[in-house]
């Protein structure tokens, strides 16, 4: 399969998955670029053991999580720097900018707060939740993408929901 064909077939999938992780168009575009750069580099190494879609899903998930970690690191660094130098602009620019184009305006507020709680979940719980609830994948497909058993995915989803419920209760109590 040629790179351009792969891009045409999977760019929407990658972009939307990245959007679910970062809820921001610019960041999602950057992740999409990173994903396809990796796909281009590793296309020759790709073994047909798994489906190409599963492979691309894995790359997109890893790139999204790496992007979030790098952004959080930058934020921490900018915060520390701002303690010594009075320049809050960088910190402001790195703040979370909720700009999900797939969300209707009337639901923006509700979903922004829901995503805030989802973002606070551990990486594997967040991934299981995004794949099953937002990407509408079956537990079997989620298990294949995450290289886990269906039982493990089921338990991850259960924990994710329990944690979400706790977080929502906590935020209501404030």
């Amino acid at each position: 399969m040629k790179f351009e064909e792969i891009y045409k077939q999977f760019s929407k999938l990658v972009f939307n998955l990245a959007l679910q992780y970062v809820q921001n168009t610019e960041d999602a575009e950057e992740i999409t670029q990173d994903v396809f750069l990796t796909v281009n580099q590793s296309l020759e190494l790709f073994q047909q053991n798994s489906e190409i879609q599963t492979w691309i899903y894995r790359i997109a998930i890893n790139k999204s999580l790496d992007f979030i970690k790098a952004k959080n690191r930058k934020k921490r660094f900018a915060f520390i720097t701002s303690l010594f130098y009075d320049d809050g602009n960088e910190l402001k620019n790195l703040g979370h900018n909720f700009n999900h184009p797939g969300i209707l305006l009337e639901q923006k507020e509700a979903l922004e707060s829901l995503f805030q709680h989802i973002n606070a979940l551990p990486d594997n719980q967040k991934t299981a939740l995004i794949l099953s609830k937002l990407e509408q994948k079956s537990q079997k497909e989620v298990a294949e993408i995450m290289k886990l058993s269906t039982k493990a995915v089921e338990s991850l989803l259960q924990r994710a929901k329990t944690n979400l419920a706790k977080k929502i209760k906590l935020s209501e109590g404030k």
Partner: protein
């Protein structure tokens, strides 16, 4: 009725995740592919050619060999000097009152 899922603490856990299903799939920017191609090209341009890498490695090895050779030569010269001194029974120190 508010659509905020946080207000509905009595709702079932599945229900507060329901709004997620309304999120629409979005097409990526049409310029994204051009940007990706540009980045691929940049990576290729920045890559050091194999020929340059091999010639750099060869130069390094030659430099190391020259260093080793010079060091060994130096040792040999020192040994020769000691041999000459011994053959002429020259004194190795200035202590005249042993």
């Amino acid at each position: 009725m508010s659509s905020n899922p946080i207000d509905k603490n009595k709702m079932h856990m599945e229900d507060f995740l329901k709004p997620l299903e309304s999120i629409k799939q979005i097409e990526a920017s049409p310029y994204l592919f051009t940007r990706i191609q540009q980045r691929i090209q940049n990576k290729l341009d920045n890559r050091v050619p194999m020929r340059t890498a091999y010639s750099m490695a060869a130069s390094f090895v030659i430099l190391l060999s020259i260093n080793a050779f010079v060091l060994m030569q130096n040792n040999n010269t020192k040994m020769e000097e000691t041999n000459i001194a011994e053959s002429f029974q020259l004194m190795h120190d200035n202590n005249l009152y042993k």
